[in-house]
């Protein structure tokens, strides 16, 4: 059984979290940028500098892996380790959202 060390990556930044969410399927850089904007309903935009840095870091930590390379575009997808980290992040966010919503009712 793998030791769960995903806590050391948490909390993820908003950009990193969205980038990982899009990588549930293999995508190359620019496709990730467009999809993040789409699924966040325009609240989050990821610039190429931010994205390249995130790719480098996530690949080094083996949270994503390169699956394809064509026309100088690399495609990445989440690894099992990456999925686990993302799942734990979402759980944390869910707790926070629930806390937030209960306070909003009192405002």
């Amino acid at each position: 059984m793998l030791r769960d060390d995903s806590n050391k990556y948490l909390p993820l930044t908003e950009s990193t979290c969205y980038i990982m969410l899009t990588l549930i399927e293999p995508l190359h850089g620019y496709a990730v940028m467009r999809k993040v904007e789409e699924i966040s309903k325009g609240t989050v935009r990821v610039g190429p500098g931010t994205l390249y840095g995130a790719f480098t870091l996530l690949e080094k930590e083996e949270l994503i892996v390169k699956v394809k390379e064509e026309n100088r575009r690399k495609s990445y997808v989440l690894t099992p380790k990456g999925k686990n980290v993302l799942m734990n992040q979402i759980k944390r966010l869910e707790i926070m959202t629930r806390n937030g919503l209960s306070v909003i009712d009192m405002l």
Binding site: S15, P48, G49, T50, Y52, G53
Partner: protein, 179 residues
């Protein structure tokens, strides 16, 4: 040099990237578009129609193959690659409505950029410390002892320079973290 190009020498510290970007933009607005960056603050501009280009700088070192993919990603996002000066990567894009004008879209990745510069500065800083005490043995009546001393003063000055750059860069990172 062709008539329609000019060369300018200007010094920007590593933490002054935003000032450098603003200066390049103002040059383009005057019709001078950056065409090449050379060593140590030498910029070449080509004359053209005045245009509103924003310039953005990244700091990256990588093998040639990764570099092509890196440039492709920026091209896909609408950025034109201009060149590189000691690992500083220069990009530009014409200002249009609805076009994102930042390559770093959060504070964390901006801090990460400055942090990529630091290891190189530390490396020089340490090398200079190791090199500096050479020849300090006082009663050395070598005829070229004066020359050694002169070199030592020189090394010390460069070391102070690097210390200054490291401290200023770390302060800039702290300033960003407070945002």
């Amino acid at each position: 040099m062709a008539e329609n190009t000019i060369r300018k020498i200007k010094w920007f510290w590593p933490w002054q990237d935003e000032q450098e970007e603003a200066w390049l933009r103002s040059m383009s607005q005057k019709g001078w578009h950056l065409s090449l960056v050379g060593l140590l603050g030498i910029y070449r501009f080509r004359a053209g129609e005045p245009r509103d280009y924003v310039y953005r700088l990244d700091y990256q070192t990588f093998p040639k193959k990764d570099k092509q993919e890196y440039q492709q990603l920026f091209r896909d996002a609408g950025w034109e690659y201009i060149g590189e000066m000691s690992a500083l990567q220069y990009f530009r894009k014409e200002v249009k409505e609805e076009e994102p004008l930042e390559i770093f879209t959060d504070v964390e990745s901006k801090i990460a950029k400055y942090k990529r510069i630091l290891p190189f500065l530390w490396l020089f800083w340490i090398i200079l410390i190791v090199v500096s005490p050479i020849g300090i043995s006082i009663d050395n009546p070598y005829p070229w002892w004066g020359a050694i001393q002169a070199i030592q003063v020189f090394v010390l000055l460069i070391w102070l320079f690097f210390t200054y750059v490291i401290i200023k860069l770390m302060l800039r990172i702290r300033q960003l973290k407070r945002l």
